[in-house]
């Protein structure tokens, strides 16, 4: 009997193909919008989390200042010194490496090209802690680090921007008034964190950076790699207590520095993306609702148009429940057709936009299933009222209807 209703429904729908198509458009758009939003949202979330984890998931970052004050910006909290990093390396257990750094955006010139580039003062510990590999050339020599030589190592994107296809090694970049020679290039990591490519970077020996760029002894960011993921929490609290001691912070006083864990950042970014995706999906869901009302409308019209048919069916022995089933199945089939179209269009749209934005295209079968299931539910919810109306018609009246 169900199969029968299904066949009848398809028959009725194909009889008014254009009208059916217009009817399901609402559901189609709703489902397509939900799928597009959620798929893109998940793609973006995945991208953010991979790029964050490419920074190193066992990574901790210590910076002076508090959450509200920007590092290096506020004058109240004293900057770190290289000695702080050395103390962490000596005294904290279960760490794989420590790297003191400072960074600035500096106008950089090579030939006729002039652009802002992120310049970081580092020592050779930076490469292992941040998981960078030298692609060509070499790391800094001990001599360069000690003397503050004007050598630099540049990221793959920076090399492309300034030197195009030319070999970057041995070329000269001018940072402020300082000319520095490229002694190495970094292996490309790909991906971007919040818009900035992490491959667009110039590394200077920390001492050079401090003397020539900032003119201070400051270290604004200390990276610490924990030996394992399990150790992160312990390492974080050890660093905190060590730094409190070194900075003479009394018991009960607030920290004037922060030690953050990349995982916290990753989960925070993830939850922000989740909220955004949810909001977008909710907006898209509203159009599903509107689509459902469209279906109810057309089913009511259909019931009125087919009053005579309903009368015939009732007269020759159809029970009310059978007529109800017929129209309900019709509404559900209608909305499911809309749902299928919506899934297809939504995925195609998401794939297109994902390719355009360079976001990974992630199909979540659960979301597809849910959007589809919801469209069927819309059919049941909004098809029930017209179907009940049909089932309760008086056969005599219905037969008299022209």
């Amino acid at each position: 009997m169900l199969l029968e209703s299904f066949r009848l429904a398809l028959q009725a729908i194909s009889r008014g193909a254009l009208r059916s198509l217009l009817t399901v458009l609402g559901v189609t758009i709703g489902v397509a919008a939900v799928i597009t939003m959620v798929t893109l949202g998940q793609g973006t979330t995945q991208q953010v989390s991979t790029s964050i984890s490419s920074l190193g998931s066992n990574l901790l970052m210590a910076r002076p200042g508090q959450i509200s004050s920007s590092p290096g910006g506020s004058g109240t909290a004293a900057m770190f010194r290289v000695a702080d990093a050395d103390a962490i390396e000596r005294q904290v257990q279960a760490i794989a490496g420590v790297s003191p750094t400072d960074s600035r955006s500096v106008t950089t010139v090579a030939g006729s090209i002039n652009r802002f580039t992120n310049v970081i003062g580092v020592d050779n510990r930076y490469f292992s802690v941040r998981d960078w590999t030298i692609a060509e050339g070499r790391a800094f020599s001990e001599g360069e680090l000690r003397s503050g030589a004007t050598s630099c190592i540049i990221g793959a994107e920076t090399a492309r921007q300034f030197f195009g296809s030319l070999d970057a090694l041995g070329q000269t970049l001018r940072l402020k008034k300082m000319a520095c020679r490229v002694v190495g290039t970094l292996e490309e990591k790909g991906g971007s964190t919040f818009g900035a490519s992490q491959d667009d970077v110039i590394l200077l020996p920390l001492r050079t950076f401090q003397r020539r760029i900032t003119g201070s002894e400051s270290v604004t960011l200390i990276f610490v790699a924990a030996a394992s993921e399990n150790a992160i929490t312990q390492v974080q609290s050890d660093i905190t207590s060590l730094l409190r001691e070194r900075r003479h912070i009394g018991a009960g006083e607030d920290n004037d520095f922060m030690v953050t864990d990349m995982r916290q950042i990753a989960s925070m970014a993830g939850s922000i993306m989740g909220i955004l995706t949810g909001l977008l999906a909710a907006v898209a869901g509203v159009s599903l609702l509107v689509g459902g009302i469209g279906i109810m409308n057309i089913m009511l019209v259909s019931v009125t148009e087919r009053t005579r048919e309903i009368g015939i069916r009732l007269a020759i022995g159809a029970r009310g429940s059978q007529v109800l089933a017929q129209f309900l199945v019709e509404a559900v089939v209608l909305s499911m057709v809309g749902g299928i179209l919506g899934v297809v269009i939504g995925l195609a749209l998401a794939a297109g936009i994902a390719a355009l934005l360079g976001v990974p295209f992630v199909i979540d079968p659960l979301v597809v299933l849910m959007a589809f299931g919801f469209s069927a539910l819309v059919g049941v919810a909004f098809g029930y009222f017209p179907a009940r109306h049909a089932a309760r018609l008086d056969p005599i009246e219905a037969l008299r209807h022209e």
Partner: protein
């Protein structure tokens, strides 16, 4: 089927479509109900067909009182014991002759193969075996009415109700339809009650009941073979 008494008195200001009608129809009868429009013949038909309920009075079907049957019960009674033939054929336009005839069986839950077999047999019975897959719009009026008759008899009903079955047909087609009904009554033993206002058609029936103002105005007995 015996002892049918129907009294239908609608409320105070209402029209008394049927006003204390008493009618008994025996098993195997072929009865014509005649009368001017407004005489209550259609109302009587609707009550007999369980499409409507009497306001007052009793309706015994096969000795069982059914006048207080619920909507659902009446549907089941209709489905199991009755066949309908209408003036306007009332076939589903989008379905073939075969599908139309299968429909009552489908609602009874008869299996697909059995349904097809019974429907084809019914179509054969009305002489339309070769047109099973035509749409109603591809058939003439007489043929459409034959499909409707096939649909009515496919469930082997105890009672066939025909409401002006020849009303839309020319006299030659009408006579063919009447001949078919007579045959079904005689050979298959189906009780038939037919509403008509054409005396010519009523001649085919063995008994004629004349209604006026919701009451029986007169009766006449005729043999199916001889003229009355």
């Amino acid at each position: 089927m015996r002892a049918i008494t129907k009294v239908y008195g609608a409320g105070e200001a209402e029209l008394h479509a049927l006003d204390g009608l008493d009618l008994a129809i025996g098993r195997g009868e072929f009865v014509a109900m005649m009368g001017p429009s407004g005489s209550g013949k259609s109302t009587a038909m609707n009550i007999m067909g369980y499409l409507d309920t009497p306001t007052e009075g009793a309706y015994l079907f096969d000795g069982v009182p059914v006048e207080h049957a619920s909507r659902e019960q009446r549907t089941l009674l209709r489905r199991n014991f009755l066949g309908f033939v209408f003036q306007g054929y009332n076939l589903l336009p989008g379905s073939s002759a075969l599908e139309n005839v299968e429909l009552p069986l489908a609602y009874r839950g008869t299996g697909r193969g059995e349904r097809r077999r019974l429907a084809l047999r019914a179509l054969d019975r009305v002489g339309l075996g070769g047109r099973a897959h035509h749409l109603p719009s591809e058939l003439s009026g007489g043929q459409q009415q034959r499909v409707a008759i096939a649909r009515a008899i496919v469930t082997r009903p105890a009672l066939l109700l025909a409401d002006e079955p020849t009303g839309n047909l020319d006299s030659a087609r009408a006579r063919e339809i009447m001949a078919l009904l007579v045959e079904l009554n005689r050979d298959d033993g189906i009780t038939i009650v037919m509403v008509t206002h054409e005396p010519d058609m009523a001649e085919y029936c063995r008994r004629q009941v004349h209604l006026a103002d919701g009451r029986i105005d007169g009766m006449a007995i005729a043999g199916a073979g001889h003229a009355a």
